[in-house]
Subunit: 158 residues, 2 copies
């Protein structure tokens, strides 16, 4: 059930939570040896699981003494989070990205897990099957529903 990527993700998150600072430094090659995988696997994990949408920031330096530094970003205020969601224009809206926002929102207690799951429902493409519309239109609709629902949920915060 658990993929290599999942294990590496867990390992890095554990490192972060054990660290007294906001970031951890790793060596790409070393880490890849630890998990018996290709170095580029590390990049895959970083880009699929430590994206800004999910509340992380990655910086790195090449060459001798090179490193990769992973920051856990400051938890967002619900207002900021909502603004970020609203700024997703329907052009760059896609369910995967939206899902990442949900994950961050629930991790940072802006919305509850149940609310996250409810919102996730709107993003499940298969519910929209059978409609005589193209995928882009489905995404546009999802985007509208998604944003409207989040606004509703957070309404009382203002």
């Amino acid at each position: 059930m658990f993929t290599l990527s999942d294990s590496i993700e867990d390992y890095l998150k554990k490192l972060l939570s054990l660290s007294s600072r906001y970031y951890v430094d790793i060596r790409r090659y070393e880490l890849s040896r630890k998990f018996f995988c290709a170095p580029s696997q590390i990049n895959y994990v970083l880009s699929s699981r430590f994206s800004p949408e999910r509340g992380y920031l990655v910086e790195s330096r090449r060459g001798g003494k090179g490193y990769i530094r992973i920051y856990r970003l400051e938890p967002l205020q619900s207002r900021t989070w909502m603004e970020m969601v609203e700024q997703l224009t329907s052009a760059d809206f896609n369910p995967v990205k939206a899902m990442q926002f949900l994950k961050r929102g629930s991790e940072e207690k802006i919305i509850t897990q149940r609310e996250a799951r409810l919102l996730e429902t709107m993003l499940k493409d298969d519910l929209y099957n059978g409609l005589p519309v193209m995928k882009a239109q489905v995404h546009a609709l999802q985007s509208k529903l998604f944003k409207a629902a989040i606004a509703e949920v957070l309404k009382e915060c203002y």
Copy 2:
């Protein structure tokens, strides 16, 4: 008269009842081999016999190390709620009726007010404007979304 689908259904239900958890994980291809059938047969069984209306919920992950997870929903506390939802079949589904259910649900503390507002958003017809579909189709979609979302909440009754 037992069909292949019936056997697969039985098999999965047995798995569920033997499991100490409230879900089971399967691999689609493996299962299809076990029953000497096409992989898509499994999807047919899942959609015809393990729908939310029947008290089940299915989630899955594609790609390497993918899986299908089948949840058995707990009917106890939520039986009445479930029955109400079942009445909202897409034929006679209408947003007004659904809204009334929501109201009752939040009064009876099955869902929070925030959740009720979230779900209400799905029922707002004007969000669906611009789609080249008839009202009936919009309602069918709303019904699907609504039911899937409710099932999501019920999943947590354990």
